[in-house]
Structure formats: structure tokens, C-alpha cells
């Protein structure tokens, strides 16, 4: 079988297209590259969606944590503490166990039957956990940035007569983002790395549709040779990391476009938040 045929058959295997059975006897380099790459689709899916949704929840949580009213502040503080203080691995497991307790037939809300059976599948359940998790980590970053917004900026906004939503949208939020961006870039990188945990606890692989590490482990177990599949997976993740650094760097330049060239903070990638 030529490599093009293998790509045609297994390229979208992780989504359920193409060959139904995983390879059983021939584990060529092409097979491994194709299947592990196919699994990467899930890592990207989880990473992109969780980051996108998590960004908005994180902004809200950061504001809530900075609020004076304890009724708003306390729940946000607890939410952030629980998700940042416990391993993602255990969060996945508990979330799965909690989700399967939902009644199968669906929940009846005001006469409408809401289907619940889909929430236990990885694409929904694990995404939900990752979303909450990244929201908690990002919220802590945004909260720190919010507290470091220079006093002068706020005074200037007051002097212009900006209040409420306008003050937030025009002054606080952009400054917060600018300050938080380097740390947020790290969060994004480590969130992508965390997506590899999805199929290791709780969530089952439906019809052997797994992520990159699921297939890497499949090959390592079948060929008894860890020296090929894991470096392939590592290679793919290095590519993702480089792409992320590039993308976030572009946004960083845009966020800081008003500053003189020399003052623009360079993105420094530090490992601050892995799970």
C-alpha cells in the first residue's frame, strides 16, 4: 500500500471516516505519521474551542474576583481555587462520573425534553472540563493583570468622563490584555498539551477515535517500540507550539502597536501553568 493510499484511508480515521479497523500487522512510518496526525485533529479541536470559550468566561471571572461585593467575589475565588488546585486528570474523571449520572432519557425542563446522552462523549464532556479549567487558569492571569493596570490609565479614563462599560471596554480591558498576553500565551500552549490527557481518564474512545497520544500509545503497545510513535507525537506538538507562539506573537504586536518600537514587550514564554 502506497503512502498516499494510507493517508486516504487513515487521514481522517480519528473522525470516523475511511478504514474502520486500525492497522493490525503493518505499522510503517507512514501509518504512524498518518494516524497520529489524524488524532491531532482532536487536540486542535479541544484546544481551539476551549481557549475561545474559556477566554470570555475568564474575563468575567477575573472581574468577579476583583469585585468588592463578596457575593460575587467568593464564588469566583472558589471556582478558580478548585480548578487550579486540583489535577486535570482527576477533574476529567470526576466530570465523567458526574455526567453519566444525568438521566439517560433526557431532562424535562418546562415541558421541553433536553437530551443528555451526548454530554458523556469526549467531544462534549472533555471539552467542557477543558473549558472550565482554562477559564480558571486564564482568570487568575487576567486578575493579576487587572490589578497591575497603571493607576494613571484609570485616572485618565476618569478625567475623560468614561464610566462603566465604556471605561472597561476602552481602557481597562485593552490594558489588561496587553499585560496578561505573555502569560496567556503560555496558558494556551499548556492547554494544548493538556488535551492529550482526555483519553487517559474517564472519557472512552468511541470507535477507537482518539487523539494523537491515543494513537501513539496504540502503536507503542502494538510494536513494543516507544522510540518511533512518541517522538512523532512530540514532533507534531512542537509544530503546534511554534504555530501558537507565532500566532500569539502577531496578536501581541497588535495589542502593543501604540507603543514605540523599543518599548514593546517581547513575548517571553515561561512555563507558568501546566496542569
Amino acid at each position: 500500500m502506497s503512502c498516499t493510499e494510507i493517508i486516504a484511508e487513515y487521514g481522517l480515521r480519528s473522525l470516523g471516516f475511511g478504514e474502520r479497523l486500525l492497522p493490525r500487522s503493518d505499522f510503517t512510518l507512514c501509518h504512524q505519521f498518518t494516524l497520529i496526525g489524524s488524532g491531532l485533529i482532536w487536540n486542535i479541536y479541544f484546544g481551539v474551542l476551549a481557549l475561545t470559550f474559556g477566554f470570555f468566561l475568564a474575563t468575567g471571572l477575573a472581574l468577579a474576583k476583583a469585585a468588592d461585593n463578596p457575593l460575587i467575589r467568593k464564588p469566583a475565588e472558589w471556582f478558580i481555587f478548585v480548578f487550579r488546585g486540583s489535577p486535570l486528570f482527576i477533574q476529567f474523571f470526576l466530570a465523567y462520573e458526574a455526567l453519566v449520572m444525568l438521566p439517560r432519557a433526557g431532562v424535562n425542563i418546562f415541558g421541553l425534553t433536553v437530551q443528555t446522552s451526548w454530554v458523556t462523549s469526549a467531544w462534549a464532556g472533555a471539552l467542557f472540563v477543558l473549558f472550565l479549567n482554562t477559564a480558571a487558569y486564564s482568570a487568575e492571569i487576567f486578575y493579576g493583570a487587572l490589578r497591575s493596570v497603571p493607576k494613571g490609565d484609570i485616572e485618565a479614563a476618569d478625567a475623560y468622563g468614561l464610566t462603566g462599560w465604556h471605561k472597561f471596554r476602552r481602557v481597562l480591558w485593552p490594558t489588561m490584555l496587553r499585560l496578561a498576553w505573555p502569560a496567556y500565551t503560555n496558558e494556551a500552549i499548556f492547554l494544548f498539551h493538556a488535551t492529550t490527557l482526555v483519553f487517559f481518564s474517564g472519557f472512552p474512545a468511541y470507535q477507537q477515535r482518539g487523539d494523537a497520544l491515543y494513537y501513539a500509545k496504540f502503536f507503542a503497545d502494538k510494536t513494543f517500540n516507544p522510540f518511533i510513535p512518541y517522538p512523532i507525537a512530540a514532533f507534531y506538538f512542537i509544530c503546534i507550539t511554534l504555530a501558537l507562539i507565532g500566532l500569539f506573537g502577531v496578536i501581541n504586536r497588535r495589542l502593543n502597536r501604540h507603543l514605540p518600537q523599543a518599548h514593546r514587550p517581547r513575548l517571553r514564554i515561561r512555563p507558568q501553568i501546566i496542569r
Binding site: 493490525r24 453519566v100 458523556t120 472512552p204
Partner: protein
């Protein structure tokens, strides 16, 4: 894959220092009544008793080690332990990578268990990853849902994630007889060529020893007695 090993506080039969002939017995420890970890934290079950008897008769010193099911063959091959005695059916596919002793348990039936007897066996079926049953389901046209342990597969049926679970009949039996809510579904499926001890292909000497002792135990009926003790009087015997 070495040292992906999950050793229990398994007791060395004799305290370990016997020279050459220490055989490390690898098992899963989560597949009652074949093998499980009892409340003292030791490996127990049909295979523990059988293994100890075999080692005693063959004059070997044996030590028990547990390992997760999905990496049990890789760890054997990298020399982490010397045998797999974990309810592993003899199949052609496995024979390509490891050697088996002759079977110590006759070809066993695999069965479906579901919440209702008329469950859709071509729907979503749960199976333990890397088992012959998982293979069978993947080929049967049903939607395979893979889990790391037997317990997870049964849990998936109870919570409705899967329509049925397909596994070794004897291992499923306690869930049916004790749970009450689940029952057998469909007909039994005979799979595999019985259960044997898995070994590295290069360990021909060890294979010879175990084969001889198993033949002896089959002949004098002591193997049948042991099977009946652990699996009940209805169990298939030699």
C-alpha cells in the same frame, strides 16, 4: 515498556533469594475470579492458586507481579516478568508475538450482558481494550467502545453509555448473579483456543516445564477440581 510495571506487594513464595529459577508471574489483578487483588492486597484467584501449584510441581520459585492489561504483552517482551497468567486466551494474533503453554482452561464462551435481554448487539458495545472480545466487536459491525478495565465496561452499560458489554462469560457472571439489574443477552460466542500461560518465544525451556506440569494436572484431574472450585460445578472442564 519495562517498568511500566505495577507491582503489588505480592509475596514472593519463598523469600526470593533462590538463585537461577525465580520466575516472575505477571497478571492483571482485576479480573475475578481468574485473578484479583484480595482485601489483604495480595494477588488471589484461580490463577494464583494454579500458578503456585504449577511452580511447586515444576520446582520453580515464583513471584507475583501485577501490570495493567493494555501493556501486559509489551512488558513481558521487555523482560519485566517471565509469564502472563491473566486469563489470556490463546489466539493466532497473539501467537505471532508471544508463545503460549498448552491451555489450562478450556475454550471459554464469551457473552453479552445488557440491561434488557433484547438489547441491540449491533449497536454500541463496550469491551476491554486489547482483548479478543474487543477485536470481535470491531469486526462484528457493532460500534466498539473501548475501556481500560472490565469494570469500566460494565459501568458503561449500567449508565447507558453502551447497549451491551462483551467479555469473557465467567468474568461477567458475578455482575449478572449479584447485580440483579443486568442479564445475558444474545447467544454465547466461543472465542479463542482456551487460556494459556503467555511467555516470550525465546523461553522454550520454561514453556516445556509448564506444558509438562499442566499435562500432569490434566491427567490426574486436579486441574478440573481447581476449575470447579473457582468457577462452580457447571464450568467447562477437561
Amino acid at each position: 515498556m519495562k517498568k511500566l510495571i505495577l507491582t503489588t506487594a505480592a509475596l514472593a513464595l519463598c523469600t526470593g533469594f533462590a538463585m537461577a529459577d525465580t520466575v516472575r508471574m505477571g497478571t492483571e489483578g482485576a479480573y475475578p475470579p481468574y485473578n484479583f487483588i484480595n482485601d489483604k492486597g495480595e494477588v488471589d484467584g484461580f490463577e494464583r492458586e494454579l500458578g503456585d501449584t504449577l511452580c511447586e510441581k515444576a520446582g520453580l520459585t515464583c513471584e507475583w507481579v501485577t501490570n495493567e492489561w493494555d501493556s501486559i504483552i509489551p512488558n513481558l517482551l521487555s523482560g519485566n516478568y517471565d509469564t502472563i497468567i491473566a486469563g489470556m486466551s490463546i489466539t493466532d494474533e497473539r501467537m505471532e508475538t508471544i508463545a503460549f503453554s498448552q491451555n489450562y482452561y478450556p475454550p471459554a464462551a464469551s457473552a453479552y450482558v445488557a440491561m434488557k435481554p433484547d438489547a441491540d448487539l449491533t449497536g454500541v458495545v463496550a469491551a476491554q481494550v486489547g482483548t479478543i472480545q474487543a477485536d470481535y466487536v470491531a469486526k462484528s459491525g457493532a460500534t466498539l467502545l473501548e475501556f481500560a478495565t472490565l469494570d469500566d465496561t460494565v459501568a458503561a452499560v449500567k449508565n447507558g453509555e453502551a447497549d451491551a458489554v462483551f467479555a469473557d462469560k465467567d468474568a461477567l457472571a458475578p455482575f449478572v448473579t449479584e447485580g440483579g439489574e443486568m442479564g445475558w443477552a444474545g447467544a454465547d460466542v466461543p472465542l479463542g483456543g482456551g487460556i494459556g500461560i503467555g511467555m516470550r518465544k525465546s523461553d522454550t525451556e520454561l514453556k516445556g516445564k509448564f506444558d509438562a506440569v499442566i499435562t500432569e494436572m490434566k491427567a490426574d484431574g486436579s486441574l478440573n477440581t481447581m476449575i470447579k472450585k473457582w468457577f462452580g460445578d457447571d464450568a467447562a472442564t477437561f
